[in-house]
Symmetry: C3
Subunit: 142 residues, 3 copies
Amino acid sequence: MSTGLQEAQAGRTFIGRLPTDTDLVEEIERFCAENGVQAAWVSVVGAVRRAAYAYYNQTMLQYKEMASPRHHEITGFVGNVSIRDGRPFLHAHATFADINGESVAGHLLKGCVVWVAEVEIRELSGVELVRQHDELTGLALW
Amino acid sequence: MSTGLQEAQAGRTFIGRLPTDTDLVEEIERFCAENGVQAAWVSVVGAVRRAAYAYYNQTMLQYKEMASPRHHEITGFVGNVSIRDGRPFLHAHATFADINGESVAGHLLKGCVVWVAEVEIRELSGVELVRQHDELTGLALW
Amino acid sequence: MSTGLQEAQAGRTFIGRLPTDTDLVEEIERFCAENGVQAAWVSVVGAVRRAAYAYYNQTMLQYKEMASPRHHEITGFVGNVSIRDGRPFLHAHATFADINGESVAGHLLKGCVVWVAEVEIRELSGVELVRQHDELTGLALW
């Protein structure tokens, strides 16, 4: 497995809806912390009352943070949970569509306010995914 | 599990391609009905000859329906199946790219005509996901 | 299973990060070839230093290839692995966001240069997914 991928086992699967007006990122991280989920793949079907997202500047090695105060459908979502600073951390990217079908997109930040969020958290066991500082990218990676 | 997420078991996994010119939503729902799939997470890699999608107006509590008669690649897709009005119901959001790489996106409606749709339906068992009217949002939710 | 979907079994699950500056498509295909993965569903959370993507013209039956030399977040990703010409082949579509939160999207081509790519490859066993020429669409399909 030369590329650094490791084999994981299927763990528990959790499904359900997050409460309206909670923080999308915080709520998923809190659920994982409370239920001992240390590694997972995460998917969301839903909408937000406000979108908060970022673009990582690969030259400056820093995030540019953005937000949209409008209501958005989440029309693309890829995410995972692993350990950062000793706690479950959600790393997710999403696309947010507006009333005209146009969208903004980026790295998910805290500050996305849930309207409806149907979430699947598919736990991966048998692996240790711990984020640590990566010199090359400036990011916390496994 | 304070946020309302419940634990599910992995059920069957179905994979394959939907016929060209069928309705993307109807075909997935029909497959689930015929095969007794009552809860599932769904993913699609494909393209459509026509896109139909919506934006839910969180103030008016109603959908604004939109359509694009152009051919589109499906470049983001998140979806699940649960029970609504006694039958399997697909709730999915998607991003549809056009010939210039630009996209429209929203809540998937019936009316998306399949060009190619490679579908995975990953059943979840041991859970009851039944949509019922939610006062706060005006939507049919679990 | 009238629509052509078949039942698969859950196989192995691989998770990890692809090296920076590798080719996103080639690296996933190489991993699958080296590890005997013949069918899988694939997801990626990450960013690229360059995006390469295409739109399939359903009238002309040919791909229009595009590229963006900018850095992008991958904000939507759906993909699978199956066999084409005797080897594991990645079919994936993705959305790529830029520094303004705007995005381009399409069918993933070789030429996407990895900045960070956190990948899950969820193997499907018990199925044979072999791509062959399809007259109607001009594509290699199962």
